[in-house]
Structures are given as C-alpha cells and as structure tokens.
Amino acid sequence: MFEELKKTLSKISADYADIRYERMSENYIAYSGRELVTLSSNDTDGFVIRVLKGGGLASVAFTKPEEAEAAIRIALENAVLFAQKSRKPVRFAEVRPARDEFRPQLSEDPEKVSLEEKMALLKNYNDIPLSAPQVVNTNIGYAEVKRSKYFVSNEGSEIREDLITVSIRGQITAREGNLIQNIRVAIGGSDGFGSLRRQEDHFEKQTKLVCDLLKAKPVKSGVYRCIVNPDLAGVFAHEAFGHFSEADIVETLPAMREKMKLGAKLGSDILNIIDDATIPNQLGFYRYDDEGVAVRPTPLIKNGVLVGRLHSRRTAAEFGEPLSGHCVAEDYRYAPIVRMGTIFIQPGDRDLQTLLGLLGDGLYLLDAKGGQTAGENFTFGANYGYEVKNGRPGEMIRDINITGNLYQTLLDIEAVGDDLELSRAGGCGKGQTNIRSCHGGPHVLINNLVIGGI
C-alpha cells in the first residue's frame, strides 16, 4: 500500500503534501428490548490528501481510487486560491519524519471472537435490565471499529497504525405511570475484547439506579455547592476546560486567546489537568496522530496555571508552542482537527468522606449524561445524585443539568479527591465524532454550580 500511496504523492508538486489511506472494519450488534435490531459487518475505505503550497492549505477526501487525480487537482487549485486570498500564510511546525509500524497490544483480539459469542455476551448484559419489571425498554449495542491507517508524507513519514475500539453501550428506560427515566450503560476500551468480559456488575448497578430514579425527586433549580464523581469530573475537565486547550478553537478568537495565554491563572491552586493519551490500556490510547506526530503527555494546568495546549502542526507553528500530537480525524472521510486524547483532573489527597465533610450541605452528583461547550459556557447532565446534609448523602435526586463558565468554575474548585477513574466509552462531537475521546478525574468539590432543574 505504501508504494501506491507514495506514487500518488509523487504527482503532487507542493511545499508539503500528505496522504492517508484507511480501511475501516465496523461490526455492530444492537438490541432494542428483547429484539435484535442490528447485526452488520462491513469494510469500507477511503483517502485524504492535504496540500500546503505557497502558504495555502487545502484538503480533499475521496473514496474512489480513480478519483485520486481529480482530488489532487482540486487540492492544488484550492491551495493556490487559499494562498491568494489569505493574508497570513499557513506554516507547519517542524517534525522529524517517522517510519513506524504500530499495532496495539490487545487483551483479546475482537476479530478472533466469533459473532455468536459477541451476540451471546451482548444478550447476557441486555437481559439484566430486562428482568426488572419497571424497565420498559433497552437500547444497547455492541460496536467494534477498526481503523487500519497508512500515512505517508512527502517529508518521508511512513506510518502504519491500527486503532481498535470496542464498546457495549446504550440506555435503559424505566417507567412508572407517566414518569419515564433513563440511564446510560457503557463499557469498553481500546485494548481489546477483554475489556467487555465479566461486566455484569455494571449492568446490575445501572438497572437498580434507573429503578430507584423512578422514586427520586426532581432537583430544584438553583445554585449549589456540589461534589461530582470521577465520571462527571472527567466530563467537567473535557467540557469546562478541555475544548479551550484545543489550540484550533482559541487560535482565531483573539480575546480568548489573550485570556488563555500560557501562564494565565485559570483555576484554584489545587487544580492540575493533563492530557496523556500515552497511558496504556485506556480508551484514548494512540501512538501517532493523523499528521504523523507522536502523541506526548501534555500538562495543561499546573496549580491552577495554564501551562500547555493541544496542537496540530499548524497551530503549534502559529502559537510558537511545542507540538503535542493531537491532530486527529474521525476516519477517512475527514481531514484531521485538534482533539483531546485522554484528559483528566489529576488526583489530590482527600478521600470521599473528607470531601463530604467539607461539603456539609449540598449535592453529590454522579455519572455524566452528555455535555456541550459553546465559548466560555458549558452544560452537562448528571444521571443521578443525592442531597447531602451535614456531610451525609440522603434523598436521591433526578433530572440534573449543570451549567458553568470557563473563567469562573475552575476557580470555584475547592477540593480534589484522591481517586482516579478514566472513561471507558466516548463520543465527542466537534464536527467529527471521536469515539476514543477519553476523560476522567477524582471526586471533586465545586462551589457555585448553576443547576437547571425542570
């Protein structure tokens, strides 16, 4: 494959050019209630060409090999047009070309597990909630996605890497009278099929929770002091701050870029956040991004101070900051953009009991259900929570949605727990979907959270 790609690349006369070819295998199985609704196994493939010429950058994605010449012509035309129209030439940060072939260590190769066994495992987990009388429906699916990537640049990079992601995830819906409640289930990872085995506990726990939610009371809207659990802390790190550590977002927002200069004090003294996709056996793991840059651990906040940023080659040159290896595409249909890999709040030294004591009266919120960022504001939901009085969790609450502000909420972090959990299934949407987007943290005590209620 490399030879064919190099041949295509040799037809491009530009300052820089790269081509990425990917074969993607997707296996999906899904149940809705007791009914199997999806079973599919497919292979697709495609190419992305990027061209940098005279300071103009353009990318073309295509799926038919015979369209390569047309794609090259369009890319060159658009790069020239870009150079004419733009006031500032695009530059790429220098990188040492890599020649490497990397396949991840798997606990168990999902390709070697039979379809029958995958279906049986999924059915086993799906049957757990369905045995509860209050549960009216489940939508739970198995997904196995393998990206086999070939990357070649005219600087001499030649990289072959496989990314294999498996998950079993979905939603359980329970109903009592007119009240409908649902809860998410998610297991999985990037290190093989083993991450899906022996996870009955998770489905049992979520089933009990969704039934309990039918008896919970809706949270009253207002402003609260809250402890968030590791899953929520992770979404918080991702939504409240993470997107603004993506250099392509702040690059073209001059006022935010000024506020987000390295050295800016953004959080309280006890806050430390890092993106480290190099940690093995976790969802966000990879070795090279889709520009052929090796990913590296990137401290983002140290003692409340902004110390780093996630970069592409383009943004690293623009900011004059070190490369981080975070320019990633969903698949062969897209040119890469800056993405978080594995972002988390680093643990501190307080155990949960101590945090609850510090909280006194407030809310204890658990498990994320969806979050979103627009500019300085972010919103995310919690699956469930408890009212806390005198440091003791009491009545269960439901329908919890939280909003906050980038510049205020990080400063409102009062205490950080001593535990750490990373997420096992992801799905960050930033124009493209990143199913390996991983986040996490310890329990965290935060002041002044605005809760919407219903």
Partner: protein, 436 residues
C-alpha cells in the same frame, strides 16, 4: 447497480440497493480570515435484503466486490433481525425541482467571496470576532428494489453562514442563508444578525425565576428533538411516547400548527419519496394544537400495523452517513406555521424575559419525557420590551408538553432549524430560568 440488485435478488427473497454520490465544498473564515478550504467526494452503496422474514444489511464504498457485499448482507441474516414488511413497489412520483446546476459550476473564488462578504458586512457594523462558512453540496441518490422500484434524483444545497462572536466569550449571534443554489445573505438577515449582536454587547447579571422566553430558530433544537421523539412510530413501539394515546386531543396551544411538507421544492432537500422509496406527502401533525398524526418508516409501520408515512430516512440525529445507516423514522421536512408578529413586536410583548439564541445540552436529559434543561449561549435579557444586554450563567428548563401550551405568539418569518425543520421565533410565558 442493476447487476448487484439482480445478484442480490437471486440470493434472497427481496433486495434493495441504495446508492449515493456526493460532492461537498466548504470555505471557512475564522477571525474574518480564510482558514480552511475543504472538498469531500463521498460515494457508497448500501444493500438490504429480506429472506425468510429476516433482514440483511451491508454497505461498501464501491462496487469492486459485489459478491463480497452480498455475502456480508447474507451473513448479517444470521442474527435474525426481523423484517415484517415488503419493500415498496414502484409508484407514480411527482417531479420535483431539487437540483440547481449552478451549484456544480460555482467556482472556488465565488465560494470564498460569499463568506468573505459576510465577514466584511459584520465587521463594518460591529466590534465582533467573526466566523463565516460558505458551502455547497450536490448529490445523486438512487433507490431500487426487486419489486420494480427505480428512483434516482439529484439534489443540491448551498448556503452561507455568519457568526458575530462576543470577544472573550466564544459564543455569538449567527444566521444562515440556505437554498438550492448559492445566493448572497440577504441584507435583512445581516441586519438582524448585527442588530441582535449589538443589543447584547453588554453582559448583564440577571435574577432567575419564571418569565417569558423567546426561542429563536438556533435554539429550537431543544424543543424539536423532543417533539420528534414524541411523534415517532419508534417511540410508540417502545412505549415511551407521552402522547401515544392523545390522537385527536389538544396537546399544545391552539396557535401551533406543525406540518411536514416534503413535496415543497421551494426549499432545499424536497423529496418525492423517502430513503426506502415510500412516496412522500404533505401531512399535518399538529393542527391548532391538536395531535393529528404520528410518523413511520416501513419497519415500525409493519410492527404497529400502521401504513408507512414516507418517513424512513437513513440518518440519525447527528447527520450520519446515509450509506452506512439503516433507515429509521424521522421528520425531515417539518414546518411550524408562522404567526404574524415581527421580531420587534415579539420583544415588545416581553415585560421580563430571555431571548435564547443558542441552546447548550439540548441532546441530553430525559428526551422521551419531553424534559429539557439547557444552558443559554447566548441569551439576551429583555426588560419592559427592550433588550438590555446579554445574560450570563443562565439555564432554562421545562417540559415541551407544558411549554408548548404556553405560547404567547409566533414570529412571521421562517428560518432553517434542526433536522430540516423551518420555524418562526416562538414566544412562551411562564418558563423556569435559573441564574447564578
């Protein structure tokens, strides 16, 4: 394609081939400077087969290996996914004008010029940070099955989007001009964008409470997503639609009429049939607040013993690739009938309230129940009928089956919104607002 269908037809009781070629171009301006030019040439073919009442499904990017594609579909029969329906026979379909050849001829220069012009207009009239995108997309789509159906159509969509961003906040006021062919963003739309931006330039702290709320098209996703869930045949089958037994009853305010009009080809994306080949028709869902209909694809119509309504589309909520996505029930051509109030008149009707220009977290929460709880980004605060500034740290929450009863009035202009809907601004009263 005919050969693939013929081979698949021999291997199964019924077969359907769906194919699509699309070309899309976009130019993106960030901070009022050209930032990206991207082109995407995406092709694909998708096969569904029915054999012994079971469904097989497979897809590929090309026809290099027809037998491999058929084998994948046959393999997927193994699971026993039920198919209690037949693919539709050929029907007489109206000719719709869905394609403007000018989109194909549009030069890269013209694409760039469109977005550049929007940047210049916003820059002239505001101190905003500016983002603009211009785009074109053209598609050829075909659906054919072994029961004799042969449909092929071309479609085009083009547009330009501008956003005026409040410096330091990263959120702003945006508008989009969209049609079958590229056209300049209208002066009226640009003026609306600029005026709203300027009215919200000052950040203000507000007190929470129950107040009037004006949902603008950009935030309507919070309501429309839940409405789609409630009216979908799938929700009926899953027993999670709160209005399953309310057909013929008034569920919303009488000022609300909601129609699905796929045949209206003055708007982009008009369709004579859905992605399964079932003929489309104009259909009223809510008439003066009264629930009139649900929508179905082949599968859920079959399960519920209802007639398919032509709402089987190959896309999920996030605009998934139609080639790799199985059809499911979706409303794609919804129109909320406009009222007769100008935007200014709606604002004048607000003693105290919030104009929601963007909703955060509309995709989370208890969607089947109709609950929403959204961050407002941005939201403009109104007192005594005047916009006083931009409210910060605010959440708006409610349940659509309550909120849509509390309509005060509707705007007189339609805008594109989530999921192919066209909607006017909607003013509600007595909505819960939480503020820091």
């Amino acid at each position: 394609m005919e050969k693939l269908l013929e081979m698949a037809g021999r291997a199964a009781d019924q077969a359907e081939v769906y194919y699509r070629d699309s070309v899309s171009d976009s130019a993106v301006f960030q901070d009022a400077k050209l930032h990206d030019i991207e082109t995407n040439l995406l092709s694909g073919v998708s096969l569904r087969i029915i054999k012994d009442g079971k469904l097989g499904f497979a897809y590929s990017r090309n026809l290099k290996d027809r037998q491999g594609l058929i084998d994948n579909a046959l393999n997927s029969l193994k699971g026993g996914v039920e198919a209690n329906y037949d693919f539709p026979k050929a029907a007489q379909l109206p000719e719709l004008a869905t394609y403007e050849p000018s989109v194909k001829e549009l030069s890269g220069e013209e694409l760039v010029r469109q977005a550049e012009k929007v940047c210049q207009e916003i820059a002239k009239n505001t101190r905003a940070e500016i983002m603009a995108v211009s785009f074109t997309e053209r598609q050829r789509t075909g659906i054919m099955n072994t029961r004799g159906l042969r449909v092929e159509f071309q479609s085009s969509v083009a547009g330009v989007y501008g956003s005026a961003i409040y410096p330091g906040s990263g959120s702003g006021i945006s508008r989009m001009e969209q049609g079958k062919a590229m056209r300049d963003m209208s002066d009226e739309l640009l003026k609306e964008l600029v005026d709203l931006y300027n009215a919200g330039e000052k950040a203000v702290d507000i007190k929470g409470g129950r107040m009037k709320v004006l949902f603008m098209p950009n935030s309507m996703i919070a309501l429309l997503w839940r409405l789609q869930s409630g009216l979908s045949g799938r929700s009926l089958y899953d027993k999670i639609s709160p209005v399953a037994d309310k057909l013929g009853q008034r569920i919303f305010h009488e000022k609300l009429t909601i129609v699905d009009d796929p045949l209206n080809d003055s708007y982009p994306g008009a369709r004579a049939c859905d992605d399964e080949g079932v003929p489309c028709q104009r259909r009223v869902f809510i008439e003066k607040g009264v629930l009139q209909s649900f929508f179905y694809d082949l599968k859920y119509a079959g399960k519920l013993g209802a007639a398919p309504t032509g709402h089987g589309y190959r896309s999920g909520q996030w605009g998934d690739d139609p080639v790799t996505t199985k059809p499911g029930p979706a409303l794609r051509h919804g129109f909320i009938q406009p009222g007769n109030k100008s935007f200014q008149e709606l604002v004048a009707m607000m003693d105290r309230g919030l104009i929601i220009e963007g909703a955060l977290g509309a995709h989370s929460g208890n969607i089947p129940n109709g609950d929403y709880s959204i961050g407002v980004s941005p939201g403009l605060y109104v007192e005594d009928g005047r916009i006083v500034g931009r409210a910060k740290n605010v959440m708006v929450a409610g349940n659509i089956y309550e909120t849509l009863k509390n309509v005060v009035d509707l705007g007189n202009r339609l805008y594109p919104a989530f999921g192919g809907f066209w909607v006017p601004p909607l003013l509600f009263q007595d909505v819960s607002v939480a503020a820091r």
